[in-house]
Amino acid sequence: MFADLVAISRRITSVMLSGTAPAQLAVGFTLGAIIGFVPKTNLIALSLCVLLFSLRCNKGIGVATAIVVTLTNGWFDPFAHKLGMIVLSYHPLQGVYAEALTMPLGPWLGFNNTVVTGSLLIGAYFAFPIYFFARAFFAGIHSVFARQPGARLGLDAELQPRAAL
């Protein structure tokens, strides 16, 4: 019984920590940030979560980022509300919005909420910059802490095996 629980914990931990490449870490971080921005009681947030756990990225850093950003998203709500109000009040798209809202599961999306739409747009707008800088950051970290064969023995890079490169 205990072994089963340990096995499940190990499996979850391995899932959360898998995908340690800088790009995967950056994707997890970006999705976590977007999830953190968006209010959680709608299908958009749920879809983003599904996306996070579906992609080959680092889930642990995504969840941690979502929690941290969620704790700070009150600061962005006024701006998100204004942005969402502007977008949702855009007259030419009223028919589209209405059509989407009257579709099945449309109200569950919650996109008629100004903060949901505003925060989603903010997240989408900043997704690539976040990804770019996060990737650079994790690459830097990766280069510093990456395991280099022979480094532990004090060997130079030229002496290291070719396969290690």
Binding site: A80, A98, T102, G106, N113, T114
Partner: protein
């Protein structure tokens, strides 16, 4: 392909799916319970507890067990409890974030009045001041004061002693006073005669000692004696006339007594009082409490089911926009909810069955008003129809109650310190129609109690009067006791008017009781007056007789003395001297 049909493949997957569904169902139940408690508490504004909640995914049903609404009393009973509530949801509206309950059932619904309210009711006078204030707030006229003053006037009338105002008594008193003065005068006259007689006696004695010098006096003595005798005779004549005067006056007093009897025998007319004032005096405070509860219930309904969205302080993040062409609809709609349970009405257990239609958390978005129809079975068949209309901007609440054969408990009306009525338990018919349209309030409540037995009780100044028995006898003729309360005004400023046939019946009964009690009182008064008159006349007669006898004796004695005086004054010796002239004394030298 054949590998897929192997039980080692599909059985674990099916089991996994079943476990997932059960897990989802369990988690959904927990979430539903928390959401239902939070939502219901927000709607009704009081404590809500749910023991267990279950979501049936296959039957798309929600089951809430152990529902308790309202604060629990010391016995652990809430105001409203339900054993089980089953709601069958329509699946399609769930896709649109709506919960539409096509049909629901509530089992084991129980209404309980908090024990502290019962205790407050049972404590006599505990909330009397509050009830009186409430009655003054609802019934804004001074009819209660008018009736109170009328009863005080009746008490004063029964208490007052009018013996001194009777003509016979007044005439007797006047005659006694007159006779007293006359007696004093006669006594003075008699005493004066006695004094003059004594003086005359002394003067005669003195004159006899020197007859020559007082010859003139002695000569006039018979005239003086005669004068005194005449005075004495007049005095005696006056005394002798007194019994005749007394008899004449007695006859006059008897005639006056007959007039007194005639005048007192006329029916005593009370000051007219508005019968509704007596009804208000007796019933106002009893009626005020349920009326206030009714108004509080309407206020609670208004607060619970508002006419427009309530802006909560803890609003959701952002704003929910409604796009052109979209129609807003309530998140929760209960099309029909069957209710069955029990309650205690007028201390009688009744079984309740009913249906709640069109209940929603946003009734202003609906097209039909919320309707509640309740029917009780058992000893008190009550039918209640309530309509709460918030559609199209309307704010209209209607309540219709019809009850045939409601067993009313014993009622205590009025005030024990003055006039109170106890109505024995009786079967009643209750009809209520109340409508609150906006702020305007209109309605009528009518209660007809059949075969009532009313027992009056008097306190204060009326306590020792004999009104209770004749009033009870008179009130026994009331077959049905009808009471009607008209409600108008506004919710903040309600005005009620009370009418009942108890007021006119009590007024008429008081009139009759007063006649009877007045007759007894008149007989008592006349007997007292007669006794008083007879005593005074007898006393006076006795005094007259004594005085007459006394003066008769004194007159005889005085007459004897005066005759002696007169006889001594008219002696032959003196006559000879006068005839022959003065004779010198024996020692005189002239002789």
């Amino acid at each position: 392909m054949s590998r897929c049909f192997s039980w080692q493949i599909w059985l674990p997957r099916v089991l996994m799916l079943a476990v997932c569904l059960l897990g989802i169902q369990y988690v959904a139940g927990l979430m539903l319970r928390a959401h239902a408690v939070k939502t219901t508490a927000a709607i009704v504004g009081t404590d809500v507890q749910i023991d267990h909640a279950r979501v049936g995914l296959l039957k798309h049903e929600i089951v809430l067990n152990g529902l308790r609404i309202g604060p629990e009393d010391s016995a652990g009973d809430a105001v409203l409890t339900a054993d089980q509530c089953i709601l069958w949801l329509e699946p399609k509206p769930l896709l649109y974030k709506q919960a539409v309950v096509d049909r629901g059932r509530v089992f084991g619904l129980k209404f309980a009045i908090p024990a502290e309210n019962n205790a407050a009711e049972s404590s006599a006078g505990g909330n009397a001041a509050a009830t009186a204030t409430a009655a003054a707030r609802l019934f804004r006229d001074d009819s209660e004061l008018v009736a109170g003053e009328w009863f005080a006037n009746v008490a004063q009338r029964l208490k007052q002693d009018i013996t001194s105002r009777l003509e016979s008594v007044q005439r007797t008193e006047a005659f006694v006073n007159h006779w007293s003065n006359q007696s004093t005068n006669l006594e003075n006259r008699g005493n004066e005669i006695l004094r003059l007689a004594a003086l005359l006696q002394d003067a005669v004695e003195a004159a006899r000692s020197n007859p020559l010098r007082n010859a003139k006096y002695l000569f006039d003595l018979p005239d003086k004696v005669s004068g005194l005798e005449n005075d004495l005779a007049a005095l005696l004549a006056t005394f002798e006339k007194l019994p005749d005067e007394l008899e004449t006056e007695r006859r006059a007093i008897i005639a006056a007594r007959r007039r007194d009897e005639t005048s007192l025998g006329k029916p005593t007319r009370l000051d007219s009082v508005e019968a509704n004032a007596i009804s208000a005096y007796l019933m106002r405070e009893q009626a005020a409490k349920p009326l206030l509860e009714l108004l509080s219930a309407i206020d609670w309904v208004r607060m619970t089911i508002p006419a427009k969205p309530v802006q909560h302080q803890t609003a959701n993040r952002g704003a929910e926009l409604l796009f052109a062409g979209c129609q807003r609809s309530p998140d929760l709609l209960v099309r029909a909810l069957d209710v069955s349970g029990s309650a205690r009405i007028a201390n009688q257990p009744v079984v309740i069955q009913g249906v709640l239609h069109n209940f929603s958390n946003a009734p202003w978005l609906g097209s039909e008003p919320i309707r509640l129809r309740l029917r009780t079975a058992g000893s008190a068949p009550i039918e209640l129809v309530a309509a709460i209309d918030r559609t199209h901007g309307a704010v209209r609440d209607t309540l219709l109650v019809d009850c045939q054969g409601l067993l009313m408990p014993e009622l205590k009306l009025g005030r024990s310190e003055q006039v109170a009525m106890t109505i024995a338990p009786a079967v009643a018919t209750l009809s209520m129609s109340v409508m609150a349209d906006g702020d305007k309030l209109t309605g009528t409540i009518q209660i007809v109690q059949s075969d009532v037995h009313i027992k009056p009780a008097f306190g204060g100044d009326l306590a020792d009067t004999s009104l209770a028995a004749p009033l009870e006898e008179s009130l026994a003729s009331i077959g049905n006791l009808a009471t009607r309360i008209s409600i108008d005004g506004t919710l903040n400023d309600p005005r009620c008017t009370l009418w009942s046939n108890l007021g006119p019946a009590v007024a008429e009964g008081m009139e009759r009781a007063l006649q009877k009690a007045g007759g007894d009182q008149i007989r008592l008064l006349m007997a007292n007056a007669d006794r008083q008159v007879d005593e005074r006349l007898a006393m006076m007669e006795r005094q007259v007789a004594e005085q007459h006898a006394r003066w008769q004796a004194q007159a005889e004695k005085l007459n004897g003395n005066l005759e002696k005086l007169a006889a001594s004054a008219t002696s032959p010796h003196r006559t000879a001297e006068e005839r022959i002239g003065r004779q010198p004394a024996k020692s005189s030298q002239v002789r």
